[in-house]
Amino acid sequence: MIERFLMNTHYIVLIGVILLLIIGFFGALTKRNLIKILIALGIADTGVNLFFITIGYISGKTAPIFSKNGLTASQMVDPVPQALVLTAIVIGVAVLALGLSIIIRVYEHYGTLNVSRIKRMRG
């Protein structure tokens, strides 16, 4: 079952993806500092993006850019995931930027970044 999956992607990259995901979620769940949580979520996000890229990779093919003339589409890797990852990265950036600006506001009000103390609204 896993073989078919691994066949067209280097399994090292896959392990990298899984590691990134684990680090990301582990960091998000255990770290108390809000900024660290955001960074951890960013890591998880890059993990997923990496996974997306590895899906499109066909071994022995080159990047889907018509740089040199005479490069036919058949020699190129599947371009769709790469396009998607671009948007995903943009979205990741937007979320991070917005997160940081809100964190500034939160810091102004709470004086702390410890997530377990930012819970005036509960119950």
Binding site: F25, A28, L29, V115, S116, M121, R122, G123
Partner: protein, 628 residues
């Protein structure tokens, strides 16, 4: 054409109209309500009369999914419709002077008319959905009338709404189960479907329906809301509340257990002495309710609370009579339902008038009003004679039928329980009339009090006449009861059919002869005593036998309000007065709110990280549970 299906809209529309029109000119509200009540009486008596047995399917532009609402009319609904229509008329008449200068004047008329419309809807509906719709409208509109006057405890309204909504939802569950068998909500399809249900489903359904209706009739375990709700609801609405709304429980109970499920079906489930187990248990609940409520009524100091407990007790009789499911029992229940409505309307309207005039609502603050309010005294006198079930008036006839039904079917222990409570009823009847009218006035102000407002006289006099009519001619309304019984498929229960006598099962009595004998003797002795004897000397109020002294103005002479104080010392009765079921409900209430606060603090504990943890845990659990 105005018929059973759109009579419902008239009071509701007029209620809304009155609310808004009243903002411009205030008396429009009274005028519109009176108009609507008169029109409803006219339609109920003539237009949607006994003979118009018609089924009106009314799609109300509802999705075909519900195959439309159905309204219809037969003897049974006509019987209750008459009770509703006339109590709607009398209470609206009584409420004109009482609510005139209150600041919730507008919303009172809005909700009062909506409740009246909802009741008519209940009585005329021929399918489960419209029955439930109007039941719910009745619940929430009467809720607003209960919490209307500001000086009541908030808890009353909440207890009222929780109990009644829970009862309604128990009914809804049963209706949905029936629907899943019958495929349609119409009564005729439901009746067919119930007959082919398994025993356990029938038992479960009848249990749920029983809960729904027993809540409305305030039977013992489910009665917590009733005393407070009756006492603290708006004074002029209480007659309608206790006189007519509790009868909806009676209507529903007989309709569902008589016609829809059929006593024979639930009898098939488990049988005790040729009645169904549920019926027997409910009958015992009715008896227990009447005994406990009667003793609790005697010790009350507040007038309306005494009458509230008395209503619970009297409806307890009705529950017992109809729960056993015999033809005579149901007939007794119908008869007593009518009589109880008349009596409670009469008493509550008069008491509302007394409270309106004196501003006091406790026995210990009233007394000696007989000289100032003779008509109200007479009204309450007729009321308590009916309430106690004394012969010359209708109260006796309906109780007699109930007793006969219990004796005929050998439910002797039920009858003994009922006797305990109906004998103890004499005590609170006497306390009611003594506390307000007889004895000595507790404060000087009571001596300048005027009679109850003129509008109240009409309902008082008419209701007194109805009591007399049913007393002197007990058999007069037997034909109406029999058409009502045929409406739900019961065989005829009474033997004779003459207007004067009432005879069934083991015996009979002639109401007309009773009143003639009583009248003749009374007139003879009265004439003899008043004319042939020298005029008796009028003594001063304080010139009484007082162990060789004469009491002065501020000696407390109005002892009568303390009736029932000695009940605590009677072992059995004392024990019944001390047991309170409210503690059980309060504990469940605390349990639920305890769970709620634990749940709230655990699940929504405010920490963003924990929320993320929940997400991850859900994912992991989905993988583990559904992974295989």
């Amino acid at each position: 054409m105005i018929g059973p299906h759109n009579i419902v809209l008239i009071p509701v529309v007029i209620g809304i109209l009155a609310y808004f029109a009243g903002k411009l000119v205030r008396p429009v509200r009274e005028g519109l309500t009176l108009l609507s009540s008169l029109f409803v009486c006219y339609v109920v008596l003539f237009k949607a009369g006994l003979n118009t047995i018609g089924i009106y399917t009314y799609n109300f532009s509802l999705p075909q999914y519900f195959d439309g609402f159905r309204f219809g009319n037969n003897g049974f609904s006509w019987y209750f419709a008459v009770i509703i229509a006339f109590s709607y008329l009398f209470v609206s008449l009584a409420s004109f002077p009482l609510v005139k200068d209150k600041e919730y004047h507008g919303s009172f008329y809005l909700f009062f008319n909506i409740v009246a419309g909802a009741l008519l809807g209940i009585v005329y509906s021929r399918d489960l959905v419209s029955f439930f719709i109007f039941w719910e409208i009745m619940t929430w509109s009467s809720y607003f009338l209960v919490v209307m006057n500001p000086n009541t405890k908030g808890k009353t309204g909440l207890t009222y709404i929780v109990f009644n909504v829970a009862g309604a939802y128990a009914m809804l569950t049963a209706m949905l189960i029936v629907y899943s068998y019958a495929g349609s909500f119409h009564f005729d399809r439901v009746v067919k479907a119930v007959s082919l249900m398994t025993n356990s489903t029938v038992f479960f359904i009848s249990l749920l329906f029983a809960i729904g209706f027993l809540v409305k009739m305030a039977t013992m375990p489910l009665h917590i809301w009733a005393p407070d709700a009756y006492t603290e609801s708006e004074d002029s609405f209480t007659p309608f509340f206790s006189g007519t709304l509790s009868k909806m429980g009676v209507y529903g109970f007989i309709l569902f257990f008589g016609m829809l499920i059929g006593f024979v079906n639930i009898k098939g489930v488990y049988e005790i002495k040729d009645t169904s187990l549920i019926g027997y248990i409910v009958a015992w609940l009715g008896v227990v309710t009447s005994v406990f409520a009667t003793f609790r009524a005697i010790v009350q100091d507040e007038i309306k609370r005494l009458l509230a407990y008395s209503s619970i007790a009297q409806v307890g009789y009705i529950v017992t009579a109809m729960a056993v499911g015999t033809a005579l029992g149901v007939a007794g229940a119908l008869y007593h339902a009518l009589i109880h409505s008349v009596i409670k309307l009469l008493l509550f309207i008069t008491v509302a008038g007394v409270i309106y005039r004196t501003g006091k609502n406790k026995f210990s603050e009233l007394g000696g009003l007989i000289t100032r309010m003779p008509l109200s005294y007479l009204a309450v006198l007729f009321g308590i004679i009916g309430l106690a079930g004394m012969p010359p008036f209708g109260g006796f006839a309906s109780k007699w039928v109930i007793y006969m039904s219990l004796i005929k079917n050998h439910y002797y222990f039920l009858l003994i329980g009922m006797i305990v409570s109906s004998t103890a009823a004499f005590l609170y009847c006497y306390k009611l009339i003594y506390g307000i009218f007889l004895g000595h006035p507790s404060s000087q102000g009571l001596m300048e009090v005027k009679e109850v407002p003129g509008f109240l006289w009409v309902p008082q006099i008419v209701l007194m006449m109805v009591l007399m009519l049913t007393g002197f001619f007990p058999g007069y309304i037997v034909p109406f009861i029999e058409t009502a019984m045929k409406g739900i498929g019961f065989s005829v229960a009474f033997n004779s059919t003459s207007a004067y006598t009432l005879s069934a099962a083991l015996g009979g009595f002639n109401g007309f002869v009773v009143i003639n004998v009583l009248g003749a003797i009374f007139v003879f002795v009265f004439v003899w005593y008043t004319l042939f004897f020298p005029k008796s000397k009028r003594l001063h109020r304080l010139d009484i036998y007082w162990a060789a002294e004469t009491p002065d103005e501020n000696t407390p002479l109005h002892y009568g309000y303390g009736i029932g104080a000695e009940l605590d010392r009677i072992p059995w009765v004392g024990m019944s007065l001390r047991t309170h079921i409210t503690r059980f409900y309060e504990k469940t209430g605390e349990q639920i709110s305890g769970i709620a606060s634990v749940l709230k603090d655990v699940v929504f504990n405010g920490d963003g990280q924990i929320y993320m943890l929940y997400a991850i845990l859900t994912l992991v659990s989905i993988f583990l549970l559904m992974g295989r």
